[in-house]
Amino acid sequence: MPPTLRVVLCGSVDDGKSTLLGRILHDTRQVFADELERVAEDSRRHGTRGDAADLALLLDGLQDEREQGITIDVAHRSFETPRRRFIVADAPGHEQYTRNLASGASTADLAVVLVDARKGILPQTARHTRIAAMFGVRHIVHAVNKMDLVGWDCGTFESIALACRVLAEEIRVEEAVTIPVSALTGDNLTRPAAEAPWYTGPTLLDHLETAEVAQPAARRPFRMPVQYVNRPNPDFRGYCGRIAAGAVTRGDRVLVSPAGTAAEVESIVLWQGTRESAERGDSVTLTLRPDVDVARGDIIAAATDPPEVADQFQARIVWMGDDPLAVGRRYRMKLHTREVGATVTRIRHRVDVSDGGQLAAAHLELNDLGVVNLATDRPVPFAPFDQSRELGGFILIDRATNATVGAGTITYALMRAANLKWQEFDIDAEFRARLKRQHARCLWLTGLSASGKSTVANLLERRLVAEGRHTYLLDGDNVRHGLNRDLGFTEADRVENIRRVAEVARLMVDAGLIVIVSFISPFQSERDFARNLFEPGDFMEIFVDASLEECARRDPKGLYARAMRGEIRNFTGIDSPYERPGRPDLRLDTEKLSPEECVEVVVKSLAFT
């Protein structure tokens, strides 16, 4: 059992979070008389309970909060009972909830999510539960509040409890319980509710006092991120840090990551002495033998099982900045004690926090949750967040304002940079292209469905082959019959679809071919992603342009008609956006030019480059 249980308390506005916490503090005698007196005074001025003391005011510490009767910021409150010591983060439920909740959840062992008995599970309830789980909370309590207002009706509670269990199973937390309570009267918080003889489970406080949340981290291999190098004189060099996982004993073999230098733990230095061993959570100073080079941001780890090192990740992010997350923009990333430059190379999808669904997204706004690909300037040692909060959680800092604009969790490394090496071969792309007497490149045709991409692509390839060129045509529909047969039409799958096509096109250009890609590719970020795979000059973004009205009129496959009837979802141009290329290398206006004229334009421009 941990010495202290850290709890995050969340729920919608008016579900009664502050009242609940205030009541627990009051009933466990954690509130001082002068505090109560002041609350009574505040209650008369701002309270919502008439002349009765509004216990929520115990927590609402900011003047704006008391005056507006809302909670703005996370409050931390400590209290203790005979069985346990608690630190409770009270997370506001209204605007900014995601970022505040994420902050509160990040250090919590357990989340108490309030549910209004009269309303049942709201989208907000599901959101809070999901966000708490994403930020590492493995134990959830749904406290069904305001039971007094539904007459402590057993049926009402049971149906809500069932919905809570379904939700908990879906997000796969370790433990989820549902408890009927009344924050106003205190029933089932610290004492059993007399009105609910049908409920035989623990009170909320009972549960909090006894919940087993210990992590099996002690069994994991040793990891200590180096915070500070202590070098008071030439004879002493100590590496200070807080042990993130496992345990260490004097004489252990260790490895310094990412450099991979081996050493042995010479001593574990503590105040006025040394000790034999230390474990997760301890702040210690290590000295090593031999005295190898170690810097802040390195990880000292068990030699037999060092951490992974990578520079490309898939991660989940909650965006906390006022400006949206920009793909391709460089941020500072702080991961354990290491700070590196990092770029989101693409947003795979946005997460609908109400139902966990995947949504198309070109950017993430304030409080949005998304799954992204992330690239760091340098390889960094890490652990997936599921294995280690300490080594898998990170924040993103805006380079101009220094604001903390994002927080994320590493799901896994996309490439194990430390293990994969690019093999150099003697025959290169240029050699293969010269053999074919051509400039190998990728001609990327983007545009709405029915804008004329396939027609132009077909004629263009025939024309190039007639001139003796070696070509290949990659068509959106055709690729889905084979290589991308496993992909659907969710945003994540569409992004993966494009990624594969771009990578295949690159291999073919490397083989010396002129590759024509005919793909709707609606998002600029995707097209930029493709462009980035190629050498400058080897990629041409060709915008096959026709108005939506014209495309819908042409509609050779009848798709627009079906989309407009709602039979096809996420159809580009109808209920999914098409981002017009800002600066294409070529624009072909198929409302003015015939397909043959378009081919002429392309061939001419190829001759010039």
Partner: protein, 318 residues
């Protein structure tokens, strides 16, 4: 299933403090040391505010532990209002004489010359000039980017909402609506020129934790915390100690000797004593756990107005 009555258990716990406190104290200690090291590792000119009180004593002790065997690479700053208890100043000077301690003492000389005292100018104005302004002067002079303070979230409601690394504008102001999110142990220490961070390693400690830690680590504190016979006068229901002859007595007011101690220390005319027999740490801990008044109750400046603390902090006081 029989359920214990937590209400009864809770009250008993507060009176006896029967806990195995060791494990959580060491967790709090490790967390505080991590915070101090993080601040120092990222600071150009770190500083530690030293108020001579028990929280400062704990903070200094933690800094020593964090950097052992080196001395803490952080100078201490004491803002001397000239109205501190004499025993506090004597204690401060003993600490300053210890090896590895660098102490800066700063007093707002203009305030002294203008004759600003808690008796003549009211506690609000006096605090503004001799503490808030004085502190700003010292921080500006040293251009300190990271300033460690002994603040705890349990002290006061607006503090419960403050970050461990709390941003201050170039004019030392705190904007509670523009706080940076703080996740895990990932503290954002990036600031712009002129801005600074107030860092509170004791954020998650309670008053009882501080006392237990002082007992467990045998940390020396100002003797005023222990009960003794002291000369006091009663004003507005509170015991004010007559620490020197600068204290104007009302007609007919005669200091009497009473057995008192202080839960919190500040300027003597603004800090009330409580009647107590607690002359040992064990007795103090027992009294703290049984207390039904908050710690700051003895601080006269907190009563000036609702939200006074938040307002003072917005202005740069802590």
């Amino acid at each position: 299933m029989p359920r214990p009555n937590p209400l009864e258990d809770g009250s008993r716990a507060r009176r006896t403090g029967r806990h195995r406190a060791g494990s959580w104290l060491s967790a709090l200690e490790s967390e505080a040391i991590e915070i101090i090291r993080e601040g120092v590792a990222t600071a150009a000119r770190p500083l530690m505010l030293y108020s001579i009180g028990k929280d400062s004593s704990v903070l200094l002790h933690l800094a020593r532990k964090a950097f052992w065997p080196a001395p803490p690479p952080i100078p201490l700053l004491h803002v001397d209002t000239t109205w501190k208890f004499r025993e506090m100043i004597a204690f401060r000077d003993r600490v300053a004489a210890e090896p590895g301690v660098e102490l800066i003492v700063h007093t707002n000389r203009e305030g002294v010359h203008a004759g600003v005292t808690p008796f003549t100018h009211g506690s609000d104005y006096y605090t503004e000039v001799m503490k808030t302004v004085a502190l700003r002067q010292a921080l500006d002079a040293g251009r300190h980017d990271i300033v460690f303070v002994g603040a705890r979230r349990d002290e006061e409601k607006s503090r419960a909402k403050e970050r461990v690394f709390s941003l201050r504008s170039p004019t030392h102001q705190w904007d509670p609506r523009a706080q940076r999110p703080e996740l895990w142990n990932l503290y954002n220490t990036r600031i712009r020129e002129g801005e600074s961070l107030r860092v509170s390693p004791l954020s998650n400690w309670t008053e009882a934790d501080v006392w237990r830690y002082i007992a467990a680590e045998e940390i020396r504190i100002v003797p005023l915390y222990y009960a003794a016979e002291r000369p006091v006068v009663e004003r507005d229901g509170q015991w004010i100690m007559v620490d020197d002859d600068r204290m104007p007595l009302d007609p007919g007011e005669v200091p009497e000797m009473r057995r008192v101690r202080f839960r919190t220390l500040g300027c003597y005319p603004l800090t009330a004593a409580i009647e107590s027999d607690a002359a040992t740490l064990d007795a103090i801990i027992a009294e703290t756990l049984a207390a039904d008044q908050s710690e700051r109750e003895g601080r006269l400046i907190d009563h000036d107005a609702e939200a006074s603390m938040e307002r003072k902090k917005r202005e740069g006081y802590f």
